[in-house]
């Protein structure tokens, strides 16, 4: 598909001057594709043993008709789906398996109940022809049909690979019917199936019912991101460099050389180290590369260290401080009053009346500011609640006036002081008041 896109572009573009722009254009497309969710990584890093295990498992189902089940467990963005897709892709190169193995992909986010999941399975197994209009029959009917179809099979029938993404969500279905049936088929001598569950919950086995758990093979494959900073830098290079056969070799050579230089640049290394210390999964690297990659165009043909610094800055802004930057001075005063109340009363809840009296004490005694009347202050206060910087704590059942609702401040004092430093034209007295609560 990629190739086709390239070709179509080539045909629309004409003129000699464009020919030298073309490699850059193609590079942009490739890199953007890599940092998106559509991509598979340019090279697989680590997971050798897990990969072999998985490959072996699926191959045995595909060739010998053995039924298996396994769970892939690992944190978000550690490459679970990538690994499965990659293994399946490799197995599909084998002609015997390609003709033989059926692949059913399910996702806990999409198939939110067993009924939808069952319809999806029949659809993906292309059983609609056999069932005719019965796909849209009742749940029990479809289940019965599917089970019959699976049961009537033996070792010689086509094996099916079930991949259940977000496996923990399937465990929340009613009675876990789908899981029970899948594991049951996998355990008894029926059609050969391989059930692979992908999840990021370590305690996922505890979610299963006893009867489901006993049918599960308890084969768990753990994927942990145990990469070092060196690996991370290598990953960075492999994400940004071009394959050899890409366009004219000269361009590829200069580009890759530039990437190598970039990877040894101190600024870039600093950014990478910082990101690595936050989060070392591949997704966060993709996020980090997003901005620099998107910046590349004709006027800006090379990646610069400054782009990475900018990208990092966008990624790491403290969101609450950024929101505090935009509130009015009155609202800022209220937040400071709330901060003092929380500090004085040691984290106890407060209400608007207390905040207002604290504010009035300050405004009357210490500042030259106008003291606003209660209704105006209340409007500012409700804005803060709408921004969810303050949260009401009493249950929905209790009915009290707005002024007496119990509240909790959701901003850390350091964030307030941080925001005050950046606040444009902040009155000095407000700054001093924020530092010390004594009036």
């Amino acid at each position: 598909m990629k190739q086709k896109q390239m070709k179509s572009k080539k045909s629309t573009v004409s003129g000699d001057s464009l020919m030298e722009q073309l490699p850059l254009q193609k590079t942009c497309d490739l890199l953007r594709h890599r940092v998106s969710q559509l991509s598979t990584p340019p090279q697989i890093h680590g997971y050798d043993q897990e990969r072999r295990q998985l490959l072996d498992l699926i191959r045995r189902t595909g060739t010998t008709g053995e039924s298996n089940s396994a769970l892939l467990i690992g944190p978000r963005g550690c490459g679970k789906s990538m690994l499965v897709e990659n293994v399946v892709e490799e197995l599909m190169l084998d002609k015997e398996i390609r003709d033989n193995l059926l692949h059913v992909r399910l996702n806990g986010l999409l198939q939110t109940d067993d009924k939808i999941a069952l319809k999806e399975i029949t659809r993906q197994l292309q059983l609609e022809n056999t069932v005719g209009t019965k796909v849209f029959g009742s749940f029990a009917e479809t289940l019965q049909f599917l089970l019959d179809a699976l049961k009537s099979g033996s070792h010689s029938s086509k094996p099916i690979l079930f991949v259940l993404d977000e496996f923990d969500l399937f465990a929340h279905h009613k009675n876990q019917t789908l899981l029970y049936n899948l594991f049951d088929v996998a355990q008894s001598a029926q059609a050969p199936v391989c059930v692979l569950g992908l999840t990021c919950r370590l305690d996922v086995v505890e979610l299963l019912e006893k009867r489901v758990k006993s049918r599960f093979s308890h084969r768990q494959i753990h994927l942990f991101n145990n990469i070092t900073l060196g690996d991370y830098t290598q990953l960075f290079i492999s994400y940004l460099s071009l394959p050899d056969h890409f366009t004219d070799t000269k361009f590829v050579k200069t580009w890759n050389k530039h990437i190598q230089e970039l990877a040894s640049d101190q600024t870039v290394l600093g950014v990478l180290r910082r990101q690595f210390e936050f989060n070392k999964d591949v997704r966060s690297l993709q996020q980090l590369l997003m901005y620099p990659v998107c910046c590349v165009n004709e006027n800006h043909p090379l990646l610069l260290p400054a782009d990475f610094v900018d990208g990092m800055k966008i990624q790491t802004t403290d969101t609450k401080s950024a929101m505090l930057h935009g509130v009015s001075i009155l609202e800022l005063c209220l937040i400071i009053a709330m901060k003092h109340l929380t500090e004085i009363y040691d984290g106890e809840l407060f209400n608007f009346e207390m905040v207002y009296s604290e504010y009035r004490k300050f405004a009357q005694k210490r500042s030259s500011m106008q003291v606003y009347e209660k209704a105006v202050v209340l409007k500012a206060f409700e804005h803060l609640i709408a921004l969810e910087l303050v949260k009401t704590m009493d249950g929905s059942g209790s009915r009290v006036q707005k002024e007496y609702r119990l509240l909790l401040l959701l901003v850390h004092p350091s964030q307030i002081l941080d925001a005050l430093q950046k606040y444009p034209n902040c009155p000095t007295e407000v700054k001093q008041w924020a530092q010390c609560s004594v009036i």
Binding site: A322, H325, E353
Partner: protein
């Protein structure tokens, strides 16, 4: 080359020309979005205060470049089904169900949505272009089914299609995370406008036949009153258009020259301060405000009556006393009842006074306390004049006060024998009620004695 440059460069300049003070954001967004066929970031999360131009920038960007996009307001789609159908049918180019009921797509779960989305994209020939789904007021997505937000965040992966989901909201991203986590979106901040930027933007939409300098002078005066309290651009714009006529009034009548800013300021300042207490709080509507302005022109005293000054409610005689009794029961500690309401109350000793000093006004600070109906009736019989028999009428009046939302019933274990209540009216209100029956409520309130 030239054609490509036009597509690349001009939109930024064009849009920046139309939208002032958002250059940096437009530049970042344009570079992230890239060109038509290029893969865009899977999700963009734009946050910032209201009136910082989030929708404006995204809308004009997508519209001027004519990119395939769907705008959905999440408040409207209180049901997931509405949301899916809206996206699919808008993408299909359908205006409404009524025009073409046959080709109206129906979809009620995420699974079908993904399948139909790919189908529609194929039908419309959008497979190679980036399709944008813009979800405004994205904070409402949190209250919907639990799978919607994570599924939209990985829509690109689920559909295998070049699609970009843009979420716009006022709430920061941290408040969206739940459960086992999501695919993180690319987060962009829309910072607030500075005072100068507000001035530039508002000067652009000045009324016709008005000089920029003169109008920005007026805005300066306006902001000096309102900027401390309000940063919302829309609110300030509304107030600016509402008060401009008043500002120009002395010039029209010929009392003051247009260049005499001091006199104009003296003229407008009390007016603006009044507006802060009335129009800004929506105590009076804008039409009332304009009417009042015309009245002052003629020379009459304006008859502005706000919503809150109308807190005078006609109540039956005993209801008034019941309400007063409820207020006293809510805001007085039970142990002081004897002092206030018993016939021969003892003197307050010095120590009690000392204690009282510490917790002065604390009851009005903490809010109403609950009380049992027995205490309410005891206080009621003590303060009401003459002999009242506890008939059914009296008890009906209590429950009608509850339905008027002046008393609130507190959930407790015993609902029939001794129900408990809270008084939910303000001090101002109870003062005006007690004035009508000639009862001095402050004398009986612990906080004010």
């Amino acid at each position: 080359m030239a054609a490509m440059e036009i597509e690349e460069e001009n939109p930024v300049k064009n849009i920046s020309k139309k939208i002032s003070c958002r250059n940096q954001q437009i530049k970042t967004l344009v570079s992230l979005i890239g060109q038509r066929e290029q893969v865009a970031p899977p999700t963009l999360f734009l946050y910032g205060h209201t009136g910082t131009g989030k929708s404006l920038v995204i809308n004009s960007l997508l519209q001027t470049r004519e990119l395939p996009h769907v705008m959905v307001n999440c408040v409207e789609c209180y049901n997931q089904r509405f949301m899916y159908e809206k996206i699919l049918n808008k993408l299909q180019g359908l205006r409404s169900y009524m025009n073409d009921p046959d080709s109206y797509l129906k979809c009620d779960n995420m699974n079908d949505f993904i399948r139909m989305f790919r189908q529609v994209c194929e039908d419309r020939g959008l497979t190679k272009q980036t399709v944008y789904i813009v979800l405004d007021k994205a904070e409402c997505l949190r209250d919907k089914e639990i799978n919607i937000l994570p599924a939209f965040l990985r829509l690109q992966e689920l559909t295998h299609q070049n699609v970009c989901v843009v979420l716009m909201t006022e709430i920061v991203w941290e408040k969206f995370r739940t459960g086992t986590g999501y695919c993180e979106p690319y987060i962009l901040n829309f910072p607030d406008y500075t005072k100068d930027e507000v001035l530039t933007i508002l000067t652009e939409d000045r009324p016709e036949g008005c000089e920029a300098d003169f109008y920005s002078m007026y805005l300066n005066l306006l902001l000096s009153v309102f900027h401390m309290v309000c940063r919302d651009l829309r609110e300030i714009r509304y107030l600016a258009s509402l008060n401009y006529d008043q500002y120009c009034q002395p010039i029209k009548t010929g009392d003051v020259l247009a260049s005499d800013t001091r006199k104009l300021w003296k003229n407008i300042e009390p007016h603006l301060k009044k507006a802060l207490q009335t129009v800004y709080l929506r105590e009076v509507s804008s039409s009332q405000w304009e009417k009042a302005q015309q009245e002052t022109e003629i020379g009459e005293t304006p008859s502005l009556q706000g919503l809150s000054s109308r807190n005078h409610v006609e109540l039956p005689y005993y209801s008034k006393y019941l309400l007063i009794a409820a207020y006293l029961a809510s805001y007085n500690p039970a142990k002081t009842d004897r002092r206030f309401f018993a016939r021969n109350s003892g003197k307050v000793d010095r120590r009690a006074k000392l204690i009282k000093k510490h917790e002065r006004t604390s009851n009005h600070m903490l809010g109403p306390k609950q009380f049992p109906i027995d205490r309410l009736m005891a206080i009621f019989f003590s303060i009401v004049e003459g002999k009242v028999s506890p008939t059914a009428n009296i008890f009906v009046q209590i429950s009608s006060l509850v339905s008027l939302n002046m008393l609130g019933q507190v959930a407790g274990d015993d609902q029939i024998d001794t129900p408990k209540y809270k008084c939910l009216v303000s001090l101002e209100f109870i003062k005006s009620v007690s004035r009508t029956v000639g009862f001095d409520v402050l004398r009986y309130l612990y906080d004010f004695v």
